[in-house]
């Protein structure tokens, strides 16, 4: 008797500098799981190991250390009064972090363990090449992608890569038949893509993003970048009122990031050779953790409208869920490949 083939699962994975988001489909709904892309080293002792196991904290043994990774990492970093360590920096694997590859593997393996039967199709996000040599390690992009592919292949996934900005478009712009500009404002990079009827026309990245804001603000306030990030995510509003110094400093650096992004976009979209013929204004959608503070969309639109932008923009939207939009788009791409 011919066995009924099991259906192949599809997964979308947003591999961000700050967070890793997994999107999966259950029945007709999309589900998301998010883990911080960070870890801390805790000195090994049997007691600590038992306590972590009992508490269900994800960790891995590494010689005389225990690597606590994912969402629990900041709590332990705070306890140890240290910064979390990051497997990635500026959108790619951190070349200065010796544990980057094993930790990435640990995090991804832990997140996707329940989907690993029947060789799922996994679509992961890859940053675009930088618009100019402005601090991004371009060779690092190639190796980032190659190494991630290797990790996923070793975990027996059918792997597919998608540009981050394009994933945002696939997630949010179905009403314009995937025509428009998608921007993913992440931790290490801002990724921009322009798509015409689903086809990628242009993509690039700039290295000014959330980490730039955190580290710049931390250098002014004298705080740890880690704590600035937490404060930014918990209470920062883009409303022009400076209730404290941190709020004021964050506003300054957010403005700087947006201006940098708009300058890069103007430069890139002014090249007619690279542009498709657009007969009507197109939408622009913002996503990513750095785009999620209240008032960010309004501020971005205000600065955009104040510039001489080479493309007519019909509207500036914030993704339905800025934290998961990229992973959602990657999942849609994976599902499309299965059609």
């Amino acid at each position: 008797m011919k066995a009924k083939p099991e259906t192949q699962a599809a997964l979308g994975l947003d591999v961000g500098t700050s967070r890793i988001v997994l999107a999966s489909q259950e029945d007709e709904t999309f589900k998301f799981d998010t883990q911080l892309n960070a870890f801390v080293c805790v000195p090994f002792s049997r007691m600590t190991e038992k306590a972590l196991t009992r508490e269900g904290v994800p960790f891995a043994r590494n010689g005389s250390d225990l690597l606590v990774h994912g969402n629990e990492a900041p709590r332990f970093a705070d306890l140890l009064n240290s910064e979390t360590r990051r497997p990635m920096t500026q959108g790619v694997l951190n070349p200065a972090e010796p544990e980057s590859v094993p930790v990435m593997r640990q995090i991804v393996e832990a997140m996707t363990s329940s989907f690993r039967d029947n060789r799922p199709k996994l679509c992961f996000t890859v940053p675009a090449w930088p618009l100019a040599a402005n601090g991004v390690n371009e060779e690092g992009l190639t190796y980032h992608e190659a190494t991630l592919r290797q990790i996923f292949a070793e975990l027996d996934y059918e792997v597919l890569g998608i540009n981050e900005g394009l994933a945002v478009i696939y997630s949010e712009l179905e009403d314009t038949n995937f025509t428009g500009i998608g921007i993913s404002c992440g931790g290490g990079l801002c990724n921009v893509a322009l798509s015409y009827l689903s086809m990628p026309a242009m993509s690039f990245s700039i290295p000014k993003a959330g980490d730039y804001i955190d580290s710049s603000a931390a250098s002014v306030t004298g705080d740890l970048a880690n704590r600035v990030r937490l404060a930014k995510e918990e209470r920062f509003h883009f409303n022009g009122h400076f209730v404290d110094k941190l709020q004021q400093v964050l506003t300054v650096y957010y403005d700087d990031m947006i201006n940098g992004l708009l300058t890069a976009m103007r430069e890139a979209f002014s090249n007619p050779k690279r542009m498709p013929k657009l007969s009507k204004p197109i939408p622009l959608v913002l996503s990513g953790g750095t785009a999620s503070p209240k008032g960010f969309r309004d501020r971005f639109e205000k600065l955009l409208r104040a510039t001489d932008f080479p493309i007519q923009i019909s509207e500036v939207r914030l993704a339905r869920d800025p934290h998961t939009a990229t992973a959602r788009g990657a999942l849609i791409a994976a599902l499309t490949e299965m059609q």
């Binding site: 995937f178 086809m199 050779k273 499309t336």
Partner: protein
């Protein structure tokens, strides 16, 4: 090509859009659009059309969009960086003094026999951007020279063999013309024969890679001129056993003329052994002609054997024992320099050299898989623009 024109029509886009709007499920809609829109429409302004015309005359490089079919186009990695020449040659001007039906004479004493020249497919421009790396598979004006040896049957170079030497030379000239093997052939008496027109491609380099800094040329038939010495060599030969002094003198004047005419950088005048690759096993040096003892100094060039081989440090090709044995100690410096570059890149990226090499090899395969369609499209475009 007809289909491609259809894909670029605005009414076709409107039709696709209206049909896509009827599909509610975003996944199905995206799937439909990806099938229906395999080609990205490019804006063609009047200026652009002029640029295209200019390209036909060798003035402008046309950037062909990256691969955009199949699952690969999810990873679109075009960047706006234009191609720039890395070095500019400074060669004394050489001009044509006399041009007859059978020969040309140049101001540096070079004489080129032109009676047997043949046409071949025209050069096509083809540039891909992979990040900051410009990958050139063809360009309308030559970018450099690849030196070959014919490895054909030869007669002893003695006065008593005069008739035989001439007969063998004629046979060889007919053979390479029939096969469009090189642009120039230097026979054993030092006579320079134009075989294939300089404006056309010649099938001299096959799978090959050469690069300077962030510019890499692949499959050099459409971008480099092929100059062959009538010769038969074996490993360990001394220069005097490989070619005659007359051939070296002729190569010097020919190189000087070509460098002057096309402003060729001296770093781009290399031997076939330095550029040839075998993609089947990712080994460098499918061909090893001029793997040792090429008279760079006598031809008026720097010792390019010391240049790091781009096939290794840009695309991860391997210099195996066979290749090392077939080439000489001078070329070994280029291999070593390339391996050191590759190794430092891997260290900087905190990767094992093997992992790094595999990633580079993957980059090469990805680029090459995008080329055939682009070459065909570029050839067609070039034909349409030809006067």
């Amino acid at each position: 090509m007809e289909l491609e024109r259809l894909y670029r029509c605005s009414w076709y886009h409107r039709w696709v859009e209206s049909r896509a709007s009827l599909i509610r499920d975003p996944v199905r809609r995206l799937s439909y659009l990806r099938r229906a829109m395999p080609v990205l429409p490019r804006r063609r302004s009047g200026v652009h059309a002029m640029l295209l015309m200019a390209a036909a005359f060798g003035l402008v490089m046309i950037a062909i969009p990256g691969q955009n079919t199949g699952s690969g186009w999810f990873l679109d990695r075009e960047v706006a960086a234009p191609y720039r020449e890395t070095r500019v040659a400074s060669e004394a001007a050489v001009w044509i003094v006399e041009s007859r039906g059978t020969h040309e004479v140049y101001s540096n004493g070079l004489r080129i026999e032109t009676d047997g020249v043949v046409e071949n497919e025209p050069r096509v421009s083809n540039v891909l951007q992979a990040g900051r790396l410009s990958v050139i598979a063809g360009q309308s004006a030559p970018a450099g020279i690849v030196y070959h040896t014919t490895e054909s049957h030869i007669a002893p170079f003695e006065a008593t063999n005069n008739l035989r030497l001439q007969r063998v030379g004629r046979w060889l000239r007919d053979f390479v013309a029939q096969n469009r093997s090189y642009h120039y052939l230097i026979d054993r008496f030092g006579r320079v024969h134009r075989v294939v027109r300089e404006s056309d491609a010649a099938y001299h380099a096959g799978a090959s890679v050469w690069g300077i800094q962030q510019t890499v040329w692949v499959n050099l038939n459409h971008s480099f001129l092929g100059v062959a010495f009538e010769s038969q060599t074996t490993a360990g030969d001394k220069l005097a056993e490989s070619v005659t002094p007359a051939q070296i003198r002729a190569a010097a004047t020919l190189t000087s003329m070509l460098r002057s005419r096309y402003n060729l950088p001296p770093d781009n005048c290399v031997t076939h052994a330095q550029a040839s690759v075998n993609p089947a096993n990712m080994g460098i040096g499918l061909h090893t002609d001029w793997g040792a003892n090429f008279p760079f100094a006598e031809v008026g060039l720097p010792d390019n054997y010391a240049q790091p081989l781009a096939a290794i440090h840009q695309f991860g090709f391997i210099a195996d024992e066979l290749y090392r044995n077939a080439t000489g100690p001078r070329l070994a410096r280029g291999i070593q320099a390339a391996e050191e570059t590759l190794s430092s890149q891997a260290t900087a990226l905190n990767l094992a050299t093997d992992v790094h090499r595999q990633a580079l090899q993957q980059r090469y395969r990805k680029i090459m898989s995008a080329l055939p369609k682009q070459l065909a499209a570029a050839a067609q475009e070039s034909k349409e623009n030809r006067p």
